[in-house]
Symmetry: C2
Subunit: 344 residues, 2 copies
């Protein structure tokens, strides 16, 4: 990492240094909340074509830096590029979400998947997008790379899409635990190779999204999630790492013992509760309820300030979930501006 980046507000905060104000960015900031994103999106027949065009991905990544003045960019991509790179293709269905025509059903399905550097070699378009973004950002703000956490990726590969209960994926953990571990290891190996390349291409921090963490029983999260998150964090010593395990309030203690620097909190989990479970070693990221941004500017400002006071330092400001696509841009700006003008 360059001297410039390591001295940026965002990276200093991620490394646990005391900063003049907390940095701010939004999960899904590169997306439908921005008119310029919607205009760009229209140039592509589908979401995947957009993701696979490095110049467009770079443009979408930089838009929120220009428009919202957030303190970090996050590469425009999707967590499901990993299953695809491993050999499990998916479609993105408008307004419905992802669908995998073929799913993982047995050991044979797992055996034929590519993994590690061989699989990660299929994601050159992401590395290219990172390099382009890095160049165009020209040191303005750090660039966040990301991947899905292994359990969440397994859930999609077994389930074939979103689900109310993820009962097929969770069934595998009870009925075929060895298969589950074999698949998780292949996903982990691929993710490590992928993220190493992201760092080589310019990512200054890596975030792992464990979107379906909250579906697992605590003992299962300990067995099927934590060890793989740990492997990934250990493999990337060059950059700070953030784990956002949505709904995994019951595993904060274990998450606090991984080698990441930052833990993302959803809007149900108070920083006081997280500190009680994890102690003070990690930086916390979050956690305003995304629906707060539907309120008037005065309420958004009050709630944002209250949150900053509740976190009381070692804090990267964000929402507790990705910003919802129909959020008014004015609401997003009221949120970001409140943090940017905050004086501790």
């Amino acid at each position: 990492m360059s001297e410039l980046m390591s001295q940026s507000l965002f990276i200093r905060a991620a490394n646990g240094e005391k900063t003049e104000r907390p940095p701010v960015w939004l999960m899904r900031q590169a997306g439908r909340i921005l008119p310029q994103y919607r205009a760009l999106r229209q140039k592509f027949p589908d979401f995947k074509a957009f993701v696979k065009t490095p110049a467009a991905a770079a443009e979408a990544t930089i838009q929120p830096v220009d428009e919202l003045k957030v303190d970090a960019a996050i590469i425009f991509s999707d967590i499901l590029v990993i299953p695809e790179a491993m050999g499990l293709d998916y479609e993105m269905i408008e307004a419905k979400g992802p669908r995998f025509p073929k799913t993982i059903q047995n050991q044979e399905d797992i055996n034929i998947l590519r993994s590690g550097t061989e699989a990660a070699a299929n994601l050159e378009y992401v590395y290219q997008a990172l390099r382009l973004t890095k160049q165009e950002l020209n040191g303005r703000v750090p660039l966040i790379g990301f991947a899905g956490a292994p359990w969440t990726i397994l859930a999609y590969m077994v389930e074939g899409g979103g689900s109310k209960t993820f009962s097929k994926a969770r069934k595998m953990l009870y009925a075929e635990p060895l298969q589950a571990h074999a698949l998780l290891q292949k996903i982990t190996d691929t993710t490590i190779a992928y993220l190493k390349q992201q760092v080589a291409a310019g990512a200054d921090l890596i975030q792992l999204f464990d979107s379906w963490a909250g579906e697992l029983a605590p003992a299962h999260y300990q067995t099927f999630a934590i060890p793989y998150l740990q492997q990934i964090c250990d493999a990337l010593p060059e950059v700070p790492k953030t784990i956002f395990a949505k709904g995994a309030w019951f595993s904060l203690e274990a998450l606090g013992q991984t080698s990441c620097q930052v833990i993302g909190l959803d809007w149900n989990t108070s920083p006081m509760f997280a500190r009680e479970k994890m102690g003070g070693s990690k930086v916390l990221q979050g956690n305003l309820d995304p629906c707060t941004l539907y309120a008037d500017a005065h309420t958004i400002r009050q709630e944002t300030l209250k949150m900053i006071q509740d976190f009381d330092g070692k804090h990267i400001v964000n929402l507790g979930h990705g910003v919802y696509p129909d959020t008014p841009l004015d609401g997003v700006k009221a949120f970001v501006d409140t943090v940017r003008s905050y004086e501790s």
Copy 2:
């Protein structure tokens, strides 16, 4: 309540008495896991016609008592009969879930809804099903009546169906809190009138399902959920009440202060955590991960015994969520039989 019912294992346990073993039942036990249910279901063109036929509803209610030997029956119905009785019709779409052609958008939509006894008078078919069931059960086991919790019913009425984020319903709480309170009060008034009639028709215990509790920020659960749950519990002094607020781990302290007797736990929430937050006054219900029932009989037995030991008394055994429709019947029986043969 009759002497016979108040002396039943289930009601004694719900009232906090020490029992020879914990009672056991399953949320959604009257449903697709039973072959006899699937046969009965085929006689009806759609799910709603089934729900509205008292003799069929009574039959579905009793099937699991006969087949599984559970310690309580729960009336076969749906939480969405309340919005319908208030004037907001819904369709149940096979394999997809409920859909409301019209949703609640503004104060005018709320004003024209029926409520209280006037709305509850439209649910005679439920009361008839309860009376029939009560007669056919002939004192074998107690009969559970139920309703959705006001927040969860509001969520469906505003959202128009299920949702990944319930952002429209949650938006109302931030953007139009007075409208939300007006709607919650109308739902509450209707639910109270409805549940009073359920008790009059023979329900021995009432369960409130707050399925989307986990979507709310803790402060919102305190403001928009707890007071209405409290009103309902206070209005039904004749029977024990159970609140199952899925995902509301952050509000256990407040739930513990309501006037219900039993708190249901999902599979993420350990009884130790619940006791720490609520003290020992409430009976706890739950909370095996429904996916455990996909495992072999030996594993199911071990996990069930471990759960009973973890709860350590004041416990009604259940899953941590409704039983999933594709659960093998043998798995369900292994679960129930383990509890029935348990000797403390």
